[in-house]
Structures are given as structure tokens and as C-alpha cells.
């Protein structure tokens, strides 16, 4: 039961995140959305690790790896977005105002 609730919540987060990533124009919002989606994926992994008795350690290890990657990727994306803002003044990916 608990597993189901967590799983549903995880999938909801994931879908919400992907939706935001696609539809939010602002780059920072896109990044936040992406992190929400990652949180959904990680939550699902943790939830599925519980299958009665002792939790399976493998998904936990995977989640740790995933979080490390997610954090560094986010940091990197922020740097790129900031650099791009300095170069062009644009905050959206397909900014029509973007200076050449």
C-alpha cells in the first residue's frame, strides 16, 4: 500500500517535471522542472526498493549515483545559462529578443 502511494507520487512528480521542462519558457524554471522530474525518478527507486522485509540496498546505491550526477548537471546548466545571459541577455531558450 505504502509502496503504491509513494510510486504514484513519484510518477506524478516525474510527469509534472517533464511537463514543466517542455512548457516553461524561462531557463531557470526549466531547470527546476528537471530537478522535480529527477526527484520523481529517485523517489520511485527508493519506493520500489521496499518489498517487504529488509529494503534492497541496490536502488539506494543507484539513487546516490543519480543524485550526484543530477547535482553536477544542474550546476553546470546554471553556469551555462548564466554565461548565456551575460552574452545575450536572453533568459529563454528560444528568445526572440536574443541579440546576435
Amino acid at each position: 500500500m505504502t509502496v503504491t502511494i509513494y510510486s504514484m507520487a513519484a510518477i506524478a512528480l516525474f510527469v509534472l517535471g517533464l511537463y514543466g521542462l517542455w512548457w516553461q519558457p524561462h531557463l531557470l524554471r526549466k531547470l527546476v522542472s528537471l530537478n522535480i522530474a529527477s526527484a520523481g525518478a529517485f523517489l520511485l527507486m527508493v519506493a520500489l526498493a521496499f518489498r517487504g522485509g529488509d529494503p534492497d540496498p541496490v536502488p539506494h546505491a543507484l539513487v546516490l549515483t543519480g543524485i550526484v550526477i543530477s547535482v553536477s548537471a544542474t550546476a553546470f546548466a546554471v553556469v551555462l545559462a548564466a554565461r548565456r545571459y551575460r552574452e545575450t541577455g536572453a533568459v529563454e531558450l528560444d528568445d526572440p529578443e536574443e541579440r546576435p
Binding site: F14, L18, L21, L27, K30, L31, L34, A37, S38, A41, L44, M45, L48, R51, D56, V58, P59, A61, L62, T65, G66, I69, S70, S72, A73, F76, A77, L80, A81, R83, R84, E87, T88, A90, L93, E98, R99, P100
Partner: protein
Amino acid sequence: MTGWTLGPEAGLVGFPALGAVVLAITAARGRRLVVGLTLAATLVALVMTLTRLLSVGAYEQDIGGWGAPLGIGWRIDGFAVLMLGLSVAVGIAVSIYSLAYFGDEPGDRRRALFFWPLWFFLWSALHGLFLSRDLFNWYVTLELSGLAAVALIALSGRADALTGSLRYLLLALAASLLYLLGVVVLYSATGSLDLAQVAARLTPGPVALAAILLITAGLVVKSALFPAHFWLPSAHASAPSPVSAVLSALVVKGGFYILARTMTGLWPAAVADGVLLGLGWLGGAAVLWGSLLAIRQQHLKLVIAYSTVAQLGYLFMAFPFWMEGVGEQVASRAWAGAAYQAVSHGLAKAALFLAAGVLIHARGRDDLDALRGLGAHLPVTATAMALAGISLMGIPPGAGFLPKWMMMTAAIQEGRILPIVVLITGGLLAVGYLFRIFRRLLAADDVVLAHPPPRILELAALGLAILSIVTGLSSLPILSLLRIGAPEGFAAYLESVP
């Protein structure tokens, strides 16, 4: 297993990684020496891996004695070594090219400072990807190579490059999440991440279907298959030319490689068949759409980048032949064809991007009309482009002819007409977009070169182009390599190789 067990294949991952670290620390001092040593060591590792493969057959290797799911388990077979061979060949040419490509201007020096560690890091991650045999390690190597690639695209710091790299980064991360989610679903259903174990425990049903859709969707975005190709042209065209070469020749092949591995034996036929057919359709659409867009581009690197979209389509056109009920002869032909296409496209496309880099360097701009009359000034580069072009057009003796031939014979044996129509139309369209380049090179216009390019740039491009022709004439050794450890049900065609 206990203790350290390291085979020669570890060098393929280790030496580039070591090179990356050393170059990050030492910066520009002794760069040539470090690069040279790294290239030589990686090449030796490849040769030793190949030797070992030839003597013992396909083998598995758990790094440090830790197997799946938490450790790193490698499988070395013909397909892996073939892709590694492609990667090493392209990598060596690109590295030699890059030593001369980044010049002495302050901007160039700064870029070189970042380029070398990132590139060797990417190289190492790719080799890890080709060697891995479990789903989670593929996730990790995909992410590592993806992040390095994004950084390399952004290297120039120009606005278009930053936009291209950001779009690529966001999509790549989303794609990885889809993949990761699929892997999690698989793990919860089977309790394993190892390909063989998952395959043994997976039963058809909604869980398997969800997993295959998630994993495939993620990999489709990663390998820029139509209609998820839209990130590729801006990213590949705005990167520095040696980076474009690596991205188009190697990085997009990562997604294909994992798909090809998972689609040959991981999934129950009941869920896989529809996906395989869908991938085939998308591949065919990619060939036509990518080629048509390539014909409409006005910039050299965009033409080549859209050509990549088209050429990747051929890889996926092989997938429907792996459906249940298709004879082993046909399936194995298509499988060998796809692997061959990965190699032939990699060599030719890398040569084309490197040559494009020479032309753009020489002229200082990259619109197509800037190429007019350049052939007379840079005959070696023009020759490299012509040879690579022959391969991309699928005209013998270019290497691109062989995969098309294998797929067409497979199609005709299955009585499928559509793939043949697409394969031939795709070839003719490739003639269309490539001759837009060639005819300008041959034009009689008098031009003055902005910067005469260093000779070594031209030779690196020519080397790869010649290799792409050599590959077109040496199918038997390559196919017999592919035979070693070919997946079950995909060897019949290769058995006939002497």
C-alpha cells in the same frame, strides 16, 4: 572472483582518463607529449584487447572483482571492439587535428585548455559505454559522455553554441531520466540490472512494455532519431569542428549502441516487436526528412549535421528485421548492416567535419558560397571530402555501400519493398546535398585564403576519409570480428564469412 583483474581493455578507459587528469593539471606544458603518449597507449590497449578477443573469443570482465549490479561488469565481444576501433581511429585523427586546430591566439589557448581534458574524458566515457554490459553502467556512461559533450559544444562561448549546448543538455538530462526510470521499472520487476539475468526473468506484460517504452524513448532522444533530432543540428554545427566530428561520429552512436544491445535479446518478443517496427519507421522518416533538410541548408556545417540526422536513420532501419518470425539469415544481415553503418558513417562523417573545419578555417566563414573555388587551393581537403562523400552516398567502393547492400538484401529476402525505396532515395538525396558542396569547391572563382590552414589538419581529414574507403573494401575481416560473440540468433549471415 577476488582481487584485481584488469584486462587490456581497461586501458581503453583508463589511459584517456589519465590523460585528461594530467592535461587538466599541466595545462599547456608538455601537451604534445601527454597527448601523444595517451594516444599511443590507447591504441596499444585496443590492439591488445583485439588480440585477446581473437585468441579467447568473447569474454567478460568484472572490474575489481565487483560484478553487476553494483560493480562494473564489462563484456568484450566483436561488436564492442568494432565500436572501440571506430572510436580509437576517430579519436586519434581528431586529437592530431586538434593539436594544430587550436592556434596561438589567446581565445584559442583558453579553449584548448578546456578542450583537452574534456575531450579525453569524453573519450574515456565512450569507451566505458561500449564495454559495459549492464543497464545502470550505461546510464552512468551516458551521463558522463553527455556532460562532457555539452561542455565541448559550449567551448567557443559564442551565443549560438551556448544555446545549442543548453538545449542539448536539457534534452539529454530528460532523456537520461526516462532511461533511468525504465531501468528502475526493470529492476523492480526482475531484481537485476545484468542483461542476461533481466532477459531470463522478464515476462511479457504491462511492466515490460512500460520499461521498453521508457528506455527506448530515452535512447531515441539521445541518438537524435527523428522526430527527436531537433537538438542535433544546432548543437553539432555550433561546436568547434573537431568536437562536431566526435559528436556526430561517436557520441550519438552511444544511444544506438545501447538500443542495439538491448533489442537483440533483452526483451520478450511480445513487447519488442511493435517497438522495433516503430523504430524502423522513424529511421526511414529520418533518412528522408534529414536529407531533405540538408539540401535546404545554407551553411556548410548545418548541411553535414542534417546529413547526420539522415545517416542515423539507416541504423534504425535495421531494427524491424529483428522482429519475431524473421529468419536468422535476414536478421543477422540487418544486424551486421547496422553495425557496419555505425562504423562507416562514423569514419566518413568525422572526415567530413574535419575537412569542413579546414575550409571554414581557411575562409573565415561557413556559408556554402564561401566554398566557391576552394578546391583548387586545398586539393587534399577537397579529396578528403570527396572520398568521405562517396561513402555517405552509399556508392561503392565507399564503406557506406556495404551496410545498404546488406539491408537491401535482407529486405528483399523478406519481400519488403519500402526499405529498399527509402535506402535508394536516401542515397540519391545524399548525392543532392553533398554535391551542393562539391560543385562550389570546383567552381572557377578566384578566392584568397584568409588563413592558409596547417598541413596536418588536411592530412588528418584525409586519413579518415581513406580509412572509410578501405573499410568499404575490407568487409570480411570486419564481419568476422563482428561474428565473435554475436548475440544469439544473429550469427547466421556471419557464419558464412571464411
